[in-house]
Amino acid sequence: MTATYRLKGLGWLAISVIVVLGFYMVSLRVSVERKRLETVDSQIAQADHDIRTLQTEFATRANLAQLEQWNGQVLALAAPTPAQYLSSGQALASLAAGDQPGQATVETAQLVIPTLPVMAPAPDAARDDTSAVAPTSPAHQPTATPVRVAAIKPAADRVSAAVKDAVSHAAAPVRRALADGARGEAMAMLDRKLLSDSTLGDLTRGARAETASLR
């Protein structure tokens, strides 16, 4: 009698231990799951931060003064002239209709090529020319990645590098033109880093061909 009674007590104990342990296991699993969720959340936050820094870096490297300088030196892209805009499909059709062999008219549009007052330092310009003439030098295979921006490690630290570049290269252009040769050299180095010589050469040739055809 007493024995069963005692066993009963032990049974209760065992049951309650199992139940409590079960609860504890559930709670443990929940907390583990929560912990993982938090890790993911913090990873998202970190990624957001990285995106922001990379966006800032991109905006800094691609600032409009820099783009315009490249355009002025190499691409020579012009704003479209009013004659290049067509108001309707009819205008487009009449344009094509007038384009018969023998009666095609070449319209020399008044081009507005944005040019910065800044001129690249003379040695750099010369280098560009040589690369344009002989783009197949062994050092610069045409198969090389044309834009090396992509090769830049997406490390957040790099943003301060971009800052540095922006500060020194997109400074007031007039002042830069007056600055000593050393700064000009630094400018040229940035150009080389971002666009390989062969790419610049190709672009320059393309631009020249286009200008020649327009004349």
Partner: protein
């Protein structure tokens, strides 16, 4: 017995002593126990407290770390103009240096080529606790400097304000001082909003459009260099909302490197400097003449045969523009005749001229968020000659921003609205104040377009964009009179004239003649081409499509222009 009697005494004595000792030690043990108990209870209590009341570190904190210390500034399309980033800085505790200072200085000079060895040696021998060697350092530089290995050289990451577009729109954005507060521009005007913890998560959108601003800066910069001008100002404004899409003042500073900026560069010429803007004021005189009913017919003619003598003053027409005949209203504006405009102003009278200038807010600083504002020079004594000279923009000096806004008022149907550098959401434009009637505004649009088609503004015409505007060339006032060879050349325009949307103003201060301007420094040869090129670059981006088949109706004004016998075009005005 004696033993038996004698023995217990010391034993009892001993026992009593031991008992006492035991009691003391028990007491001490008890106190120790209580002490431990109390300590334990304290720890348990503290742990419970933490468990119950302290919220655990969550991702909310991680997200909060992402909120910048100062809100971003963007342009109207969301392109970043100012951001706060973490940048490396290299500092040194000069007193704690272990190594050889000369050697460290030479190593530093090799790594950081912007300064020489002497500079670094001076830094390393300063008697201060801490000084910066380099701020905004590259990670590579930090690595190399770390390799020097002196424990006195320290590195840290500091929040830094970065302006990705560098010097672009520098006067609009401004910069942040070392104390973390805005030093100029919108950084200063919006300082409280930018650092407020509740709002700094949201970027502030300015009304500036970076593409327009960049085009304006590049064209204006090219003109300024080519004409060796002392300063240049360019403004693009939305006439229906008062939003400034581009505002540039040259020379510019670089907000990323503010310590190199000169006072000349820091000055915002668009809002701080006042200029006599010359003939660009003539449309205001015309508007008042029509609005007040002083001149009711566009065909009414005014004597411009010879210079006008008023008291001891003589009002001339600019050389090259003299017509030496009677001019009607459109001709007065096309040939920019000072004499005829003065005669009109004389008819309007002092009150009328004051009235239109007052309504255009020329007697107070420009209405804009910026704190850098100049006060216009309003004539202190208003004589008959003052009425006449102000009618062609002499004797009264305003900021270029006010001129742009006055042109917006002239062509938008006659409503003056305050200018703003903050983006205005659609439909939220301020009510404004009526200055001239829509009919007069339409006339002004016709007249301005005519100036570009037939008059002094022909250099600014862009086919298809229906540009209309007015040139203005004023000699720079100096002590003891006007400078004969130094001009402020302005071209103020609006486009497209059949349904105006934007006003554009370009000003060059003291341009020097060159080959491209055929030795001229007048606005027609210097500022007008800038406007023409900018319009051609930005108009399609702003949604103004070129159309050769559209234009404002000029059929009622064109017959009024006099043709020399045997020609089918009116005589050309050479310049302004």
């Amino acid at each position: 017995v004696s033993v038996a009697l004698a023995r217990p005494l010391p034993a009892r004595h001993l026992a009593g002593k031991r008992h006492l000792l035991l009691a003391t030690s028990h007491q001490r043990l008890m106190m120790l126990l209580l002490l431990f108990g109390a300590g334990f209870a304290l720890i348990v209590f503290r742990l419970t407290w933490f468990a119950v009341f302290t919220s655990p570190a969550t991702t909310r904190d991680a997200a909060a770390a992402l909120v910048p210390l100062r809100a971003d500034i963007t342009d109207r399309n969301g392109a970043p103009l100012a951001r706060t980033i973490d940048a490396w800085s290299i500092g040194v505790h000069p007193r704690d240096i272990i190594g050889d200072r000369h050697q460290i200085a030479s190593q530093l000079a090799a790594i950081i080529p912007t300064h020489d060895e002497a500079y670094f040696y001076a830094k390393l021998t300063q008697s201060v606790a801490f000084t910066y060697l380099e701020r905004r350092a590259l990670p590579d530089t930090v690595e190399k400097v770390n390799a020097i290995g002196d424990p006195a050289i320290v590195f840290s990451r500091e929040p830094e304000r970065l302006y990705p577009q560098s010097s672009m729109a520098a006067h609009v954005i401004g910069f942040v001082d070392f104390d973390g507060h805005g030093g100029r521009g919108m950084e200063r005007a919006l300082d409280a909003r930018l650092i407020d913890p509740t709002t700094r998560d949201d970027p502030v959108a300015l009304s500036i459009d970076t593409r327009v601003q960049a085009a304006m800066e590049s064209e204006l910069g090219a003109a300024m260099t080519s004409f060796q001008a002392k300063a240049a100002i360019g403004i693009v404004e939305d006439i229906h909302t008062g939003e400034i899409l581009a505002m540039t003042s040259m020379p510019q500073f670089n907000p990323n490197n503010i310590k190199d900026a000169t006072p000349d560069e820091l000055r915002n010429n668009a809002t701080q400097s006042v200029y006599e803007l010359g003939s660009t004021f003539k449309p205001f005189t015309m508007a008042e003449a029509m609005q007040s009913g002083t001149v009711t017919s566009m065909a009414r003619r005014f004597d411009a045969t010879k210079p006008l003598q008023v008291g001891r003053f003589t009002i001339h027409d600019d050389r090259g523009d003299e017509q030496r005949r009677w001019l009607n209203m459109p001709e007065t504006l096309i040939y920019s005749s000072n004499i005829a405009t003065s005669r009109i102003a004389d008819l309007i009278g002092e009150q009328g001229m004051k009235n239109i200038f007052d309504k255009l807010h020329f007697n107070r600083p420009p209405t804009i968020e910026l704190e850098e504002k100049g006060k216009p020079l309003w004539p202190t004594y208003w004589a008959r000659t003052t009425t006449m000279t102000t009618s062609f923009g002499h004797g009264i000096a305003i900021t270029p921003l006010q001129l742009a806004n006055a042109y917006a008022t002239m062509v938008n149907g006659g409503i003056w609205r305050p200018t703003t550098l903050l983006k205005v959401s659609p439909g939220a434009a301020p009510q404004g104040e009526r200055v001239i009637s829509p009919a007069v505004s339409y006339r002004i649009r016709q007249l301005l377009r005519l100036v570009v088609l037939k008059g002094t503004g022909r250099k600014a015409d862009v086919p298809g964009y229906r540009l209309g505007g007015k040139t203005g060339t004023a000699e720079i006032a100096e002590v003891g009179g006007y400078h004969k060879h130094s001009n402020v050349s302005t071209f103020a325009a609006a486009f497209p004239m059949d349904n105006p949307r934007y006003v554009i103003v370009a000003t060059l201060v003291a341009p020097k003649p060159n080959a491209s301007s055929f030795g001229q420094t007048t606005a027609a040869w210097t500022a007008a081409p800038v406007v023409s090129r900018v319009v051609q670059r930005v108009a399609p981006m702003l949604g103004v499509m070129p159309d050769m088949n559209k234009d404002i109706d000029e059929s009622d004004l064109l017959p009024l222009l006099w043709h020399a016998p045997g020609t089918d075009a009116p005589p050309a005005g050479a310049n302004d």
